[in-house]
């Protein structure tokens, strides 16, 4: 199976966009080798701006560039983008409805050894709370590329959450994804798993195990957390009567919360949220951390069984 980190796919797709569109400007904060904007910087130095280690100014300059007609892609690590520069994103970018795509890498605990200070578990919650902000969490390389191309076409502020870790492809290159439309990867009548990011592939694996036990599971890749595909959530709630959400993010404020907001208002069904409990991460290998915080195929399968028992 082919593997690629979503940040790698982002770096390649940026180059592709840069070749096609001259209004694209890329900014980084001294992390271009890690965020993978370095290839764009090498090919289009006149359209790349390094802000240095200054994330507030990174966002402020992005606003000024966007207000001058540029389509801006601003990258740094998720914890510094959504966290440190939150208020600049809110007031300079989102409040002014500017065309800035905040493409944050190294999200979640799979940052690994750098530890909890660098593992954003709350960035989706923060970004989702800003009026008008689009929030996208791709599951693999090919979908990162396509969603980035879609984001270019869609005017306005957006937050793209990318990972450090190499993850298996679940899509082919000819996939058709749309911002704001969840992708149904598997159709089963018993439970629906709604996942995002690297947890989509693990959810697919869990569904195979469960199928062996006679439990038929639907799997949805909810790559757009905001605007959330309400219709799909409601339909899957009605069809299967129970939902499990899975994300590499705090269970507070992320995909799980977003799904619960829809089900509780429109179609109350039991929902379990699998994610990081209310705690910070720590140092460790990505695999050890995923195991430690319960973001595994086995845990997903176990949660589905629990959910079915309690219906």
């Amino acid at each position: 199976m082919k593997k690629q980190a979503t940040r790698e796919a982002y770096g390649k797709a940026l180059v592709e966009l840069g070749q096609q569109h001259h209004d694209i400007v890329v900014l980084d904060a001294d992390l271009s080798k890690s965020t993978k904007t370095a290839e764009f910087a090498g090919l289009f130095p006149e359209r790349f701006i390094n802000a240095g280690i200054a994330e507030q100014n990174l966002m402020g300059m992005s606003a000024g560039l966007a207000a001058s007609g540029k389509v801006v892609f601003a990258s740094t690590f998720a914890v510094f983008a959504a966290g440190r520069a939150f208020e600049q994103i809110r007031n300079s970018i989102a409040y002014a409805e500017l065309n800035v795509k905040i493409c944050a890498t190294h999200a979640g605990i799979t940052v690994g050894e750098d530890g909890g200070s660098h593992q954003s578990v709350e960035d989706v919650a923060l970004m989702r709370s800003i009026p008008g902000m689009c929030v996208v969490v791709p599951a693999d390389g090919p979908s990162t590329r396509q969603l980035l191309l879609e984001l270019y076409e869609r005017s306005g502020p957006a937050y793209l959450r990318l990972g450090r870790l190499s993850v298996p492809h679940i899509y082919n290159d000819d996939l058709k994804l749309q911002i704001g439309r969840g992708m149904e990867l598997k159709d089963g009548k018993d439970v629906t798993i709604i996942a995002c990011g690297i947890m989509v592939e693990k959810s697919l694996q869990a569904s195979d195990i469960l199928a062996g036990e006679g439990i038929m599971v639907s799997v949805v890749d909810m790559h757009t957390i905001k605007p959330l595909d309400k219709e799909l959530v409601i339909r899957k709630a009605q069809e299967t009567g129970a939902i499990l959400t899975v994300e590499e993010h705090s269970i507070i404020g992320g995909l799980g919360s977003a799904v619960c907001e829809v089900t509780s208002e429109y179609c109350p069904v039991p929902v379990l949220r699998l994610g990081i409990e209310d705690q910070f991460g720590q140092s460790g290998s990505p695999d050890d951390l995923l195991q430690h915080y319960g973001l595994t195929v086995d845990k997903i399968a176990q949660k589905v069984r629990n959910l079915l028992k309690n219906i």
Binding site: N57, M61, G64, L65, A67, A96
Partner: protein, 275 residues
């Protein structure tokens, strides 16, 4: 380089007076807002909108225009007054300041009012916008210039210095920033609350060309604006010595007038002086 003559100076002085009268009237009508820092900035803003900048009120989005970013966004009334006087909208609209549904928000909102270049108010952010705009200008090889104004209290925001470092690093000689140095912030004298002094030395150390002027002397502002155009390879900051509440004797140098609007009686007194 523009010619400076008595007639030009007098014209801008008249506009500065009109702007000050608008500020007092609209703040009185609004019942809240920032009077002192709007009045301290009036002469500089009048110079920019009625002498310096290449703008077209009929085409506020003209791509080759100069831009002004009011980073000290709480002084929105001075910007609104200048835009109205310049013909971006009817001066009657000034009386809707801070009211529900008005495009004249408490702090400038670029989505709502043509002529407003940046949504500011959260201090420290406007100067970053201006740096971004100057970068865009360089990228597109435009000869338009970017102007910004920061407050002296605003210099306490760390982001101002991030932006200043970037402006010098990228040699943005199309960027000119005024510091409205009126010496007061909400809690008192800037030197008592959290001193940003020595302001000129700081900018010089950050790689800027620094000029110091009397921010109420129209001729001095014009000269500085002219001189700034000769500076190549680095951004220019003009540290303008100003008086908070300038033009209304009972407001001048009074910290109480930072975030207070005049009542009807006070406005009448102020307007009687502003003639």
């Amino acid at each position: 380089m523009k010619e400076i003559n008595d007639q030009a100076v007098q014209q801008v002085e008249e506009k500065a007076l009109a702007i000050r009268r608008h500020i007092v009237a609209m703040l009185c009508e609004a019942g809240s807002g920032h009077t002192g820092g709007s009045l301290s900035a009036s002469d500089i803003v009048a110079c920019l909108y009625f002498w310096e900048m290449k703008i077209d009120p009929a085409h506020p989005d003209w791509a080759d225009r100069d831009r002004f970013v009011l980073s000290k966004g709480h002084a929105a009334p001075v910007l609104y007054a200048a835009l109205a006087e310049r013909g971006y909208f009817s001066p009657e609209k000034l009386m809707t300041l801070r009211k529900l549904g008005s495009p004249l928000q408490g702090h400038p909102d670029k989505r709502k009012l043509p002529g407003v270049e940046a949504s500011t108010g959260s201090l420290g952010q406007g100067i970053s916008w201006a740096v971004g705009m100057a970068l865009a200008g360089k990228m597109d090889k435009k000869d338009s210039r970017i102007y910004a104004m920061v407050g002296d209290g605003e210099l306490e925001e760390g982001m101002v210095w991030e932006a200043s470092m970037a402006a010098a690093h990228y040699e943005l000689d199309n960027l000119l920033v005024f510091v409205d140095h009126n010496g007061l912030q909400i809690d008192g004298r800037i030197t008592d609350v959290m001193s940003p002094e020595p302001i000129s030395d700081k900018f010089r150390a950050f790689g800027w060309e620094v000029m110091s002027i009397d921010g109420h002397d129209i001729r001095a502002i014009m000269k500085a604006l002219n001189n700034a155009k000769n500076v190549k390879g680095k951004p220019v900051v003009i540290v303008a010595e100003t008086t908070k509440g300038k033009g209304c004797s009972f407001m001048e140098n009074k910290v109480e007038w930072h975030g207070t609007a005049p009542n009807k009686e006070e406005a009448g007194k102020a307007l009687a002086e502003l003639v």
